[in-house]
C-alpha cells in the first residue's frame, strides 16, 4: 500500500503539471480534425500523413535533427520564463552566437579540436554577453526586458548581416554568407546517413542539466519561487537583480550555443538570415509557455512541435494538405492552455 501511495505521489508531483498540456493538445487535434472535415479533407488521412511524416523511417531522424535547435531555443526561453521573465531577444543572441562561432571556426589558427571547442564557447559567450546587455538595461536604467530584448534583436541581426555582406563575404556564392567551414572544425555526424550531428549530445546534456538544476538546486528553488510570487522571493531575501542577470546570461548562452551548433553542425557557414528563418526561437517560446517554464514539460513540448513541423512538411509534400494547419494546431494548443487558469484552478 505504501509503495502504491508513493508511486501516486511521485506521479502527481512530476506528471501533474503535464495534465493540462495533454488536455490542450487533445483539444488542438480535435479542432484541426474539424477544420479538415469542414474543407472536405479526411481527418484520418491528415493525421496519418502527419504521423508518418514525423516518425516513419528516415523521417524520425529529420524530427530529431529539427528537435535539437528547437529544444535548445525552448530551454533558452524556459529558464527566464520559470522566474516570470520573458526573453524575446533569443533570435539576436542566436544570430550573434552563430556568427561568432563561424568566425572562430574559419579564422582561429589552432588545432581542429581546439578550434571547434573555442568556436562553441565563443558562440555561448557572445550570446550571453548580448543578453546581459538587456538585463543591465533593466537593472540600471529601468528599461523593461520585454522591450529591450526584442529591440536588441535588430542591431544583432544587422551587424551579422553587415559582416557577411562586406568583410567576411564569400564571393563564390550568390548569398551573403561566410566561406565554408573546413571539415575538421565541424561537429561531426552522430549517425552517418542521417542529419543528426553531435550537437544532439550537447543539447541532450544541456536539457538534463537544466532539469536537474531546476529540481534539485538552491538556485532552481529561488527561480521557481520567484516565478510563483516575486514579492515573496524578494521578501525572503532572493537578490532579484542578480538573479535577472544570471538568468539572462544563461538564456543568452544557450541561444548562442544553438547558433553555434547550427553553423558548425549542419549549415557549415553563417548565411544571413538562415539561422532565424525557421523561427526556432518563436516555436521555443511557445513550447516553454506551454509548460509554464517547467523544463521537462518544455522539452517534451519542443519535441512534439518538432515532430509536428517535420510531419507538416511531409504532409504538404505527399497529400498537399497545407502545413499551415500544423501551425494552426500549435496556436490552438497554446490558446487552450492559456485558459488553464480558469479551467484547471477550479478542480
Amino acid at each position: 500500500m505504501k509503495i502504491a501511495a508513493d508511486v501516486r505521489r511521485h506521479l502527481t508531483r512530476h506528471l501533474g503539471p503535464l495534465l493540462p498540456i495533454v488536455g490542450a493538445v487533445a483539444v488542438g487535434f480535435g479542432v484541426c480534425g474539424l477544420i479538415a472535415l469542414w474543407v472536405g479533407l479526411s481527418p484520418r488521412l491528415m493525421f496519418q500523413q502527419l504521423m508518418i511524416g514525423a516518425i516513419e523511417g528516415p523521417q524520425l531522424f529529420e524530427t530529431v535533427a529539427r528537435a535539437v535547435p528547437l529544444v535548445g531555443m525552448t530551454l533558452a526561453a524556459a529558464i527566464p520564463l520559470r522566474a516570470g521573465i520573458v526573453n524575446l531577444g533569443a533570435d539576436g543572441q542566436l544570430a550573434l552566437g552563430g556568427c561568432a562561432a563561424a568566425i572562430v571556426a574559419l579564422y582561429l589558427p589552432a588545432p581542429d579540436l581546439v578550434r571547434l571547442g573555442v568556436a562553441l564557447t565563443a558562440g555561448m559567450a557572445v550570446g550571453s554577453a548580448y543578453a546581459a546587455l538587456a538585463a543591465a538595461g533593466e537593472i540600471y536604467a529601468g528599461v523593461p526586458l520585454l522591450l529591450s530584448t526584442w529591440l536588441l534583436t535588430y542591431p544583432a541581426k544587422g551587424l551579422c548581416g553587415y559582416l557577411v555582406r562586406s568583410p567576411l563575404r564569400d564571393p563564390s556564392t550568390a548569398w551573403p554568407s561566410t566561406a565554408r567551414i573546413a571539415v575538421g572544425s565541424r561537429l561531426g555526424s552522430l549517425l552517418p546517413g542521417t542529419p543528426v550531428n553531435q550537437g544532439f549530445l550537447l543539447i541532450a546534456l544541456l536539457a538534463v542539466a537544466v532539469i536537474f538544476i531546476d529540481r534539485r538546486s538552491s538556485v532552481g528553488f529561488e527561480l521557481r519561487l520567484r516565478g510563483l510570487n516575486q514579492r515573496f522571493a524578494r521578501y525572503g531575501g532572493v537578490a532579484l537583480n542578480r538573479q535577472t542577470l544570471g538568468v539572462m546570461l544563461a538564456s543568452g548562452a544557450i541561444a548562442g550555443l544553438v547558433g553555434a551548433i547550427m553553423v558548425l553542425g549542419s549549415q557549415f557557414r553563417y548565411t544571413d538570415g538562415a539561422l532565424t528563418a525557421p523561427q526556432y526561437s518563436w516555436s521555443g517560446t511557445l513550447a516553454a509557455l506551454l509548460a509554464g517554464g517547467e523544463p521537462l514539460g518544455s522539452v517534451i513540448a519542443a519535441v512534439l512541435f518538432a515532430a509536428l513541423q517535420t510531419g507538416g512538411f511531409a504532409m504538404e509534400r505527399s497529400v498537399e494538405i497545407p502545413r499551415v494547419l500544423t501551425m494552426v494546431l500549435q496556436s490552438i494548443v497554446i490558446l487552450f492552455l492559456a485558459m488553464r487558469g480558469a479551467i484547471w484552478k477550479r478542480s
Partner: protein
C-alpha cells in the same frame, strides 16, 4: 414576529456549507451584532441580506412581508443599506455629488445642484453627522468618508443599515464618534447590523448578538447579560485564554537601531526622521492608524525600500543600504503584514514555503543541492510544532485558512532564530484560537531574549504584549510610552495627531 427576519438560510459553495440553516431575528431600532471568526458565514449572511447573493434555501421577511432580492438595487429599494469595509466613493467628486449620485433631484435634464446641496445638508444635520457637502472626497479623512457612506444609505431611505467591520480603519476617537452616530440612528428608529470580530466594540455598542460558527448559529446573546468570555466560547466552541501572563524582564543589549530614518515616495516624506531601538528580550510596539508610514518604516528596516537618509543598525552593524538577504543574515526575521501576497507563495507547497531562507544552507541544502528528505522533515516538524492544519507538507498553502497560513509564516520566521523579529500585524484577520497561539509564541520568544518590533492596528494587542509603545502619525514618531503609562485613550489621542506639542 420580528421586524426583520432571515429564516432558515442555506448557502452552499463548492465544498463549503457557508450558511447552514441560519435564523436571524432583529427588532426595529436595535443595534444587532453579527459575530464569528473568519469563515463562520457572517459575510455570506450579510451579502444575502443585501441582495449580493441569493440563498439556496430560506427567505427574508421584512416588516411582515417576504422579500425577494435579486440585487443590491432591490435591497436599497426596500430600505436596506450597507456600508462596506472598502468604501465605494468617487474621490474626485464632492460630498453632495457622491450622496445624490443616480438619485439626483432634477430640473429638466439638469441636476438641481442647489436643491441637492440643501437636501444633503439637512439630512446630515438631522442625523447628527457633521460634514461639509461641498468638500472633495479626496481631501476627507477616513472617519468622515465613512460618515459619507452612512449618509448615502440614509439618503436612499435606509431603515436597515449593515455595517461591515466599520471600525477597522478608524482611530479610537473616530470609533467613539461612530458609536454615537449609531446610537442616535437607532434611537431614531433605524435598525443597525454590525458585522465585526472585535469583542470590546460589541460590548460597547450592541443590544443583542448573534454568534455564528461553521455556518450555524452558535449562540444568541443579550449584550447586557453576557460577558466577553461567553462570546469567545461561542465563537470558538472552546475556552480560550486571551489574557496571557507576562513576566517582568530586564531587556538586554540593543539589537536593532534606526537613526533619523527617512523614506520618500513621490517626493513626500512617508517616513520622517524616525529613530528607534529594540533591545533583546523586549517587545516594542508601534501604534498608529494604517497608512501613517508604518509599512514604509518596516520596509526600510528590512532593506525592501531605499533609505534617503539616516541609518539602520542590526547588532551594531550598519545595514542601511544592504540587500534583504544581508539584513536577514545580520539578524532580522520578519512576519510581513500581507501573508498571502508577500509572506507566502500561494501555489507553492508548505515544504517550499517553509524552506525559503533555509534553502541555501545545511541541513536543507548541501553544496548548492536541495535535500528533499531534509526539506520534508523540516516542514513536518514545523507543521507539528505549530499545530498547522494542513493535509500534507506537499499541499499548496493557498488552500489554508488565514490562521493556518499565518502560522506557516510565523513558524518560518521564528525558526530563523534571529536576534530580532519584526512582526507586522501578526494576528490581523485570524481566528481567536490562532491569535492566542501567536501571542503566546511572541511572549515566549521575548522570554528567550529575542527583541521584537510589533506593528499593530489593534491597541488591545499592543497593550497586552508590548513593553514600550511608540505612536506613529504622518510618518513621524509622535509619542513614546512605557507600557505602564499607556492607555487606549492617550494612545488614541496621539494616533489622531491630536496631542502634538
Amino acid at each position: 414576529m420580528a421586524y426583520l427576519e432571515m429564516i432558515d438560510i442555506v448557502k452552499r459553495y463548492p465544498g463549503v456549507l457557508a450558511n447552514d440553516h441560519v435564523d436571524l431575528a432583529v427588532e426595529r431600532g436595535e443595534i444587532h451584532a453579527v459575530m464569528g471568526e473568519n469563515g463562520a458565514g457572517k459575510s455570506t449572511l450579510m451579502s444575502i441580506l443585501y441582495g449580493l447573493q441569493s440563498p439556496d434555501e430560506g427567505y427574508i421577511r421584512f416588516k411582515g412581508s417576504t422579500l425577494l432580492l435579486q440585487s443590491p438595487l432591490d435591497a436599497i429599494a426596500h430600505g436596506i443599506g450597507m456600508v462596506h469595509q472598502a468604501f465605494k466613493l468617487f474621490e474626485s467628486l464632492s460630498v453632495w455629488e457622491n450622496v445624490v449620485y443616480r438619485r439626483e433631484p432634477r430640473r429638466g435634464i439638469f441636476v438641481d445642484g442647489a436643491r441637492a446641496r440643501a437636501q444633503v445638508a439637512e439630512l446630515a444635520r438631522r442625523h447628527g453627522l457633521p460634514i461639509d457637502p461641498e468638500a472633495r472626497v479626496s481631501t476627507l479623512p477616513v472617519g468622515v468618508r465613512q460618515r459619507l457612506e452612512i449618509l448615502k444609505a440614509l439618503y436612499r431611505d435606509a431603515q436597515v443599515l449593515i455595517l461591515d467591520e466599520p471600525t477597522a480603519v478608524l482611530t479610537p476617537a473616530e470609533v467613539a464618534t461612530l458609536f454615537k452616530v449609531m446610537r442616535s440612528l437607532a434611537a431614531a428608529g433605524c435598525t443597525l447590523l454590525l458585522v465585526t470580530h472585535k469583542l470590546n466594540e460589541v460590548m460597547a455598542v450592541s443590544d443583542r448578538i448573534t454568534v455564528l460558527r461553521n455556518g450555524r448559529v452558535a449562540e444568541r446573546l443579550v449584550t447586557a447579560d453576557t460577558h466577553v468570555d461567553a462570546i469567545v466560547r461561542a465563537m470558538t466552541g472552546h475556552h480560550v485564554t486571551l489574557r496571557l501572563p507576562k513576566q517582568p524582564r530586564e531587556p538586554g543589549a540593543v539589537q536593532l537601531e534606526a537613526k533619523d530614518l527617512r523614506v520618500e515616495q513621490h517626493g513626500r516624506r512617508v517616513v520622517d526622521d524616525v529613530s528607534l531601538s529594540v533591545r533583546g528580550g523586549e517587545i516594542v510596539g508601534i501604534a498608529g492608524v494604517a497608512g501613517n508610514g508604518q509599512s514604509e518604516l518596516i520596509e526600510a528596516l528590512m532593506g525592501l525600500t531605499p533609505v534617503v537618509q539616516g541609518s539602520v543598525l542590526v547588532a551594531g552593524r550598519d545595514v542601511t543600504h544592504a540587500s534583504v538577504a544581508a539584513h536577514r543574515a545580520r539578524g532580522l526575521s520578519y512576519i510581513a503584514e500581507d501573508r498571502a501576497r508577500t509572506a507566502t507563495a500561494a501555489s507553492a507547497s508548505a515544504t517550499d514555503n517553509l524552506a525559503m531562507g533555509f534553502h541555501r544552507t545545511a541541513p536543507l541544502a548541501r553544496k548548492g543541492l536541495l535535500q528533499p528528505q531534509a526539506m520534508r522533515a523540516w516542514a513536518s516538524s514545523l507543521i507539528e510544532r505549530f499545530d498547522i492544519k494542513i493535509a500534507s507538507p506537499e499541499t499548496a498553502v493557498g488552500t489554508l485558512s488565514g490562521g493556518n497560513l499565518q502560522k506557516i509564516v510565523t513558524a518560518r520566521e521564528l525558526a530563523h532564530n534571529a536576534p530580532v523579529l519584526i512582526a507586522e500585524q501578526p494576528t490581523r484577520g485570524v481566528d481567536v484560537g490562532a491569535i492566542a497561539f501567536i501571542h503566546g509564541e511572541l511572549l515566549a520568544e521575548r522570554e528567550r531574549g529575542r527583541g521584537i518590533l510589533l506593528v499593530s492596528a489593534e491597541l488591545s494587542e499592543l497593550l497586552a504584549l508590548a513593553d514600550r509603545i511608540l505612536v506613529m502619525y504622518q510618518g513621524r514618531i509622535v509619542a513614546e510610552f512605557a507600557r505602564a503609562d499607556a492607555d487606549e485613550a492617550t494612545l488614541g489621542l496621539y494616533m489622531a495627531g491630536g496631542a502634538r506639542a
